[in-house]
């Protein structure tokens, strides 16, 4: 056990709850970015990877992407769409936080049922990675602004990345970079889509994206 690692993990959990309770999108973007950086630093703190040249490269690229490039892209999309605040999430903030706590407990239960082949550097890391993943999913489902949904997607990726860094040694560098490239393009394309949505609809509220459905009740003539 390493106290820096545990401190880092606790910070990551706090980011989850901050994300769930914050209504200002600008802050949300930064929270996800900081979380990304913290998760990127995790392998260094824990010292699980032998610090090879390859693992350092992938580490620094992932930190640069999550900490600088993504928030930059999203803040720019935010500026173009001209919005500041997220509307009240479905069910309100207290319920949202409560759900976050419940998801955290579920993650603890889930990870206690898994059996690991080799000892982990911290008991908390797997539950926290699941919790981050689920919180991201919760954000996507309960928030209505398109940009917050992208943040939820990034949080899910953060959770997966944390899980990966906890249980695996470095994958091959090429594959890791390809995965990062994919996520980068995803954020990029979603950013463009947000821009188009704000231009076409004058808002980026996905609750109003309801034109496409089955069985439209026939209008009375």
């Amino acid at each position: 056990m390493n106290s820096w690692v545990d401190l880092n993990i606790i910070a990551i959990v706090l980011m989850n709850f901050m994300m769930l309770s914050s209504s200002r999108i600008r802050i949300c973007i930064r929270v996800v970015a900081i979380q990304g950086i913290l998760i990127g630093l995790m392998p260094l703190l824990a010292g699980v990877h032998s610090t090879t040249y390859a693992s350092l490269v992938s580490l620094s690229i992932s930190i640069a992407l999550k900490g600088i490039v993504f928030p930059y892209l999203l803040l720019r999309a935010l500026q173009k769409a001209d919005i500041r605040k997220e509307v009240e999430p479905i069910g309100g903030y207290p319920l949202s936080l409560l759900m976050g706590v419940i998801l955290f407990l579920v993650s603890c239960w889930l990870s206690s049922r898994l059996i690991y082949a080799k000892p982990l550097f911290s008991n908390l890391v797997v539950p926290v990675s699941f919790a981050t993943f689920f919180t991201g999913a919760l954000i996507i489902v309960s928030r209505t602004k398109a940009i917050t949904q992208v943040l939820g997607y990034l949080m899910m990726e953060n959770g997966i990345y944390l899980f990966g860094s906890a249980l695996l040694g470095g994958q091959s560098l090429l594959v890791e970079l390809a995965i990062l490239l994919d996520i980068f393009v995803a954020v990029f394309v979603m950013g463009i889509a947000i821009f188009h949505i704000s231009r076409e609809f004058d808002h980026i509220d996905t609750q109003n994206l309801t034109e496409l459905k089955d069985w439209v009740p026939s209008k009375q003539e």
């Binding site: 898994l114 059996i115 690991y116 082949a117 080799k118 993943f133 999913a137 996507i140 398109a146 949904q149 997607y153 899910m156 990726e157 997966i160 899980f163 990966g164 249980l167 695996l168 040694g169 994958q171 594959v175 390809a178 995965i179 490239l181 994919d182 393009v185 995803a186 394309v189 979603m190 889509a193 188009h196 949505i197 076409e200 609809f201 996905t206 994206l209 034109e211 496409l212 089955d214 069985w215 439209v216």
Partner: protein
């Protein structure tokens, strides 16, 4: 060498076409690259190419089967696509927004070719992580294609597609990490042949969880109910040529992702666990599709739900095992060709009448676009499984296998759903083709290259009918070897 070319030719052509100003040159590029692609695919049948990059990329029998479907569909789609693009341009010129259209078409062509390239990477990649990267890349390359018409509705469809598929695929990424943990004995190696070799050493409980994640993740992209919600929107709002590719090629590629993980589970002795999942979600998809086809008001959405139905049938076939796996693969071939052809015809009807509402279209058969109407009816008969066709063979063998297994509940649900689909679709097709033709067709715009508009679907339909009568030996062989790896015989 062929593998590199198969990937790089559409890729470079796609990158180049973002910067070409001339429409004709760009359209020529589509035809040339898909022509070379299909020629290379033919050469692969005669001489299996050596693996590349330490075996990260290789073409096995499964790969060749999927590559052929994709390549043929793209070739048909590019023939149809160039006439579609030139007709769209004429319509837009009338509305005097031509300048905007030029860049829109460049984006379309570029993404179209990149989509083609990423799909090829999905098929040839032997490393599960690379496969994941490629499947996510297909989502990103095809999202701008759905937004081609630049309408609110298409934007909504694009957003749903992007978000739902990306989240689904994120689950599959978690699945990859789970699989790596299951494979700790081999240091989390992800190369398919190597995992299969050491399948006995895999940790079973992690592998089970990994398969579930793969199934839900790639199943979202494949359009299995209840994760199919993006599919009808995307298929109805995309240009018809794109819908054809989404339905005929992309869904198969996502299915390939599931098949690869199933292959591992089967080798590790988890066959029956996975088969139950396949059967459950297969039946659920067929049932969902049947219910939604019944009350459908939009003919492109009807085709989309029919894709959900067929994906369900394929999953059911894989789940039943034995001869049904073979049948599922035949059905997949038949579905890809027929559905692509149907979407092409739907595109003809749409660009003629400018409406997707079923209730607005009557008397196609006695109207001006009679050939399209005839193809529409033939396609409907083929897709619902009228003999002789590849789809009929597929459905029939699956039914027989389910009866042999004594799985009567599956038989009952399957038959009931198929008849509901038939009733629903025939109601729609009859009301569209029969009756008095629409009078106010002044707004209707005719298309210029009738040959390219009709030829691809006609050829696809003929191929499917021939499949029902005669299956060449080389095709049977390759499907059988694929089926063997997936628990069939």
């Amino acid at each position: 060498m062929p593998i590199i070319l198969l990937i790089l030719i559409p890729f470079t052509a796609g990158l180049i076409s973002f910067f070409i100003k001339n429409d004709y040159f760009r359209r020529g590029l589509i035809i040339i690259s898909s022509g070379i692609h299909i020629a290379l695919t033919c050469s692969v049948w005669f001489k299996q190419p050596p693996p590349l990059l330490n075996g990260y990329f290789a073409l096995d029998d499964t790969g060749i089967l999927f590559l052929t479907i994709t390549s043929v569909l793209f070739f048909g789609a590019s023939l149809y696509g160039i006439s579609y693009l030139s007709d769209e341009k004429r319509v837009i010129e009338k509305q005097s927004t031509y300048h905007r259209h030029a860049s829109v078409e460049a984006t379309f062509t570029g993404c179209f070719l990149l989509f083609f390239s990423t799909m090829t990477i999905v098929i040839v990649s032997q490393d599960l992580a690379v496969l994941w990267v490629a499947i996510e890349a297909t989502t990103l390359a095809s999202a701008p294609l759905i937004y081609f018409h630049r309408t609110k509705r298409s934007l909504e469809a694009t957003w749903k597609y992007l978000l739902i598929c990306s989240v689904g695929i994120a689950l599959a990424l978690l699945g990859i990490f789970f699989l790596a943990v299951a494979n700790t004995a081999d240091h989390g190696n992800m190369l398919l042949p190597r995992i299969l070799e050491h399948a006995g050493n895999l940790n079973i409980s992690w592998l089970k969880a990994a398969f579930l994640l793969f199934f839900v993740g790639y199943g979202t992209k494949m359009g299995l109910a209840p994760f199919h919600t993006w599919l009808p929107d995307a298929h109805s709002e995309a240009p018809s040529v794109v819908s054809a590719l989404l339905s005929g090629a992309l869904l198969n590629c996502a299915f390939l992702g599931i098949l690869r993980s199933y292959q591992i589970c089967y080798a590790a002795g988890l066959g029956s666990f996975c088969q139950e999942i396949f059967i459950f979600f297969g039946l659920l998809s067929v049932l969902f599709a049947a219910i939604f086809i019944l009350g459908q008001t939009d003919y492109k959405r009807m085709l989309a739900y029919s894709s959900v139905e067929h994906m369900g049938i394929i999953a059911l076939g894989i789940g039943l095992g034995g001869k049904a796996v073979f049948a599922a693969l035949i059905g997949m071939l038949g579905h890809s060709l027929t559905k692509a052809g149907l979407f092409f015809v739907a595109g003809n009807i749409l660009s003629y009448y400018r409406t997707k509402k079923i209730s607005d279209i009557h008397g196609l058969i006695s109207g001006k676009i009679r050939t399209s109407a005839i193809l529409w009816i033939i396609g409907f008969l083929l897709i619902t499984g009228t003999p002789p066709s590849g789809i009929f063979i597929g459905k029939f063998i699956i039914l027989k296998e389910a009866l042999l297994h004594g799985n009567y509940i599956a038989v009952l649900i399957f038959l009931a759903a198929l008849s509901l689909v038939f009733i629903g679709m025939s109601r729609i097709v009859i009301s569209m083709t029969q009756g008095v033709p629409n009078k106010n067709t002044d707004t209707a715009t005719d298309w210029q290259n009738a040959f390219f508009r009709l030829c691809p679907s006609a050829i696809f339909f003929i191929l499917v009918i021939v499949m029902g009568i005669y299956l060449p030996n080389w095709l049977t062989q390759i499907i059988e070897t694929t089926a063997k790896k997936l628990g069939g015989f």
